[in-house]
């Protein structure tokens, strides 16, 4: 029963959180970690809300985006902006491919089968990525030729450039997504498909198109998170662990609520940073899941989620 897992390294966030000294630094750390979780969690929420599938390959798809930067960086040497845009575009395409070639076949199957398909996909992606780029730590920032200066904020707290970009990206992504789902034509279709797929299809909404769009957007936002994290603190194949840790954030807020994911991410990040700082750094990997269990006991459908019938075996 040799598990053959890649050597696991602790995610970069933990060490940085431990270094934090002042109260203000803790607040900054919570905001950065919360932004990471929120940016990842919105991918889970998008797919779950539209197609009721839990995508456990999200962490791997996010990592795929980060590795794609390595590929595009060597292709567009000296043009970091073009390389980043190309990587984002490629991950959008990857999301569409995943839906068209894999998840489309799983529509209408058991929930367990759909979840396991995403799990298998994740394992496949991880294996292929290690085959191409090896399991060693990579530095996309070096490949792109960009630096990561650190800024001093008021009160002695510090934040690195790419963390700041990540926080800004999270805000922008959430703003765009909320607006798109509320006012956009396709956003409205996505909400309709999520509420009642049968009626939506009867009204002429192209369900496959809507589902594919959800996968595209989810992979794209995931790739944003993966790329920015990799630019900030390097890239290893243990990145999916962070993707998995962001799932509790989505569930705490409510799996079908985008605003909830934001709140959930801040709660989980707050609990994680504070417990690591005041209790034990080893707790880093379990805190999100402790929060998740607490939420499942109290309110399984999350803070802002709709109280659906939890009967989908």
């Amino acid at each position: 029963m040799d598990s053959g897992s890649p050597p696991s390294a602790r995610p970069g966030m933990t060490t940085r959180a431990r270094v934090g000294q002042s109260l203000l630094q803790l607040v900054v750390n919570i905001i950065v970690l919360g932004s990471i979780y929120a940016l990842i969690a919105c991918g889970y929420v998008l797919i779950y809300r539209v197609s009721r599938v839990l995508n456990l390959a999200h962490g791997e798809l996010m990592m795929l985006g980060a590795y794609l930067v390595l590929a595009t960086a060597s292709l567009f040497n000296g043009h970091p902006a073009i390389a980043l845009a190309a990587a984002a575009l490629l991950s959008l395409l990857a999301g569409a491919l995943v839906y068209v070639f894999l998840m489309r076949k799983m529509t209408g199957e058991m929930v367990l089968a759909a979840i396991l398909t995403t799990v298998a996909l994740g394992i496949l992606i991880r294996g292929v990525l290690i085959l191409i780029w090896s399991a060693q730590q990579q530095y996309p920032a070096q490949a792109l030729g960009v630096t990561n200066p650190s800024f001093s904020l008021f009160g002695g707290a510090r934040i690195s450039f790419w963390s700041a970009v990540l926080v800004a990206t999270t805000i922008a992504v959430y703003g765009t997504l909320l607006g798109f789902l509320r006012f956009g034509r396709w956003g409205m279709r996505m909400r309709a498909a999520g509420q009642n797929p049968l009626l939506a299809a009867q009204r002429g909404i192209n369900l496959h198109g809507v589902y594919a769009l959800a996968w595209c957007l989810s992979t794209l936002t995931g790739a944003f998170a993966g790329i920015l994290m990799a630019l900030d603190s390097g890239l290893t194949t243990s990145m999916p662990v962070i993707g998995l840790k962001a799932f509790p954030a989505a569930l705490v807020g409510g799996l079908d609520s985008l605003a909830g994911a934001l709140a959930g991410a801040l709660i989980v990040a707050g609990a994680e940073v504070l417990l690591i700082y005041y209790v034990d750094p080893l707790l880093s990997d379990v805190v999100p899941f402790l929060v998740l269990l607490a939420m499942l006991v109290v309110r399984p459908w999350g803070l802002f989620g709709t109280r659906e019938e939890l009967d989908r075996v």
């Binding site: 298998a120 799932f247 499942l296």
Partner: protein, 360 residues
């Protein structure tokens, strides 16, 4: 769930004993005898490597059988199976290390740990279903692993706990062949436990609550009780598998029980075929042998030196592909293929399927 096809003819039973017998026809008896002889002869002709592989398959079978009880029959999804194996292995490791406990203490202690944890893992199932239950077992897996890791670091065993081989009447169990028969016996006992549980009241109750809980409740089945029972029995057996694993490997480390192991166990019951104990055994054998198979295939290729360092990555990718192929193209698993082959010969020279619903 897959039901085996109706036999060519019915069998006449004129007593309860005959009806309850596990092996009913002459063909079944004969094939069982041949299989038993093969199993008994195997360790004397196999290389040490093949022997080790067989032992791993037996340990995996116990875990897969217990997961099949829980997921394939009682319908409760669990993604935390590796956590339970870890719990059994760590109970054994800690007891053997701290108080030098012999195996007849660590084995029941591991089972007890599994039972207690199974009760805890099972509690969310009273409220949650499907996806949410899967997520809660996933969370519990991480917590068990955290506790194990915490013990390792705090006690200074950061690389892992060394477990001495068990002693039977003053004799150390280190020989590969002896291990083979011990683990074979353990696997057979687990299989018998599962078979008998499934054809008794509890098994019927699980089937009922798998299909529809409301109807099961209306039939007078205590849903809460039987759900918890399924978790408790399954976890107890899994932890025993963990205990055997710890003794067999002689070493317990938290790295061996990551999420990938849980997924491997779920893959075993998927690849084997949901709802069939035979499927659990086939799946356990397939998934355990699979990485070695891939390695052997890779060795056949030219310029293999380039891939040698990345063999686990190839394994990962191939494992993902196989799992996806089974989920999409053969949801009934290996057992489905087996029944199709059986059907072909049963019906020969005809080619059409028997009437569906003939014996539901």
């Amino acid at each position: 769930m897959f039901r085996p096809p109706p036999r060519a003819s019915g069998y006449l039973h004129i007593g309860y004993g005959e009806d309850l017998a596990l092996v009913q026809t002459r063909t079944e008896r004969a094939s069982l005898a041949v299989f038993a002889i093969l199993l008994a002869v195997f360790p004397f002709v196999a290389s040490p490597f093949e022997l080790d592989l067989a032992c791993q398959v037996f340990i995996a079978s116990i875990g897969a059988l217990s997961l099949m009880l829980l997921t394939g029959h009682a319908g409760q999804i669990s993604l935390g199976h590796a956590g339970l194996i870890a719990a059994g292995a760590f109970t054994t490791g800690i007891l053997a290390r701290e108080i030098n406990a012999p195996f007849w203490i660590t084995l029941p202690a591991s089972a007890l740990t599994g039972i207690v944890l199974g009760f805890i893992f099972g509690l969310p199932s009273l409220r949650l279903r499907g996806l949410y239950l899967a997520v809660s077992t996933l969370a519990l897996h991480f917590i068990v692993i955290y506790l194990g890791g915490e013990y390792e670091t705090k006690r200074g065993f950061s690389t892992g706990i060394v477990v001495d081989p068990p002693r039977f009447a003053g004799m150390k169990l280190t020989d590969g062949r002896a291990w083979y028969f011990v683990l074979l016996a353990a696997a057979v006992v687990s299989l018998l436990i599962c078979v008998n549980l499934l054809r008794s009241r509890s098994g019927r109750a699980w089937q009922a609550l798998h299909v529809r809980e409301t109807v099961a409740e209306a039939l007078g089945i205590s849903v809460a009780r039987y759900k918890l029972l399924a978790f408790v029995i399954s976890s107890g057996m899994t932890s025993v598998a963990g205990c055997l694993f710890a003794y067999y490997r002689g070493f317990v480390s938290i790295e061996a029980f990551d999420l990938f192991l849980s997924i491997q166990y779920v893959a075993m019951i998927i690849v084997g075929g949901m709802g069939s104990l035979l499927g659990a055994l086939l799946g356990a054998a397939f998934i355990t042998v699979f990485p070695y198979l891939i390695e052997a295939l890779l060795r056949l290729l030219p310029n293999v030196q380039k891939l040698a360092g990345e063999i686990f990555a190839v394994n990962y990718a191939a494992f993902g592909v196989v799992m996806i192929l089974f989920l999409i193209f053969e949801p009934l698993g290996l057992v489905g293929i087996w029944h199709r082959v059986q059907n072909y010969f049963l019906l020969w020279p005809f080619r059409y399927k028997p009437l569906t619903g003939a014996r539901k």
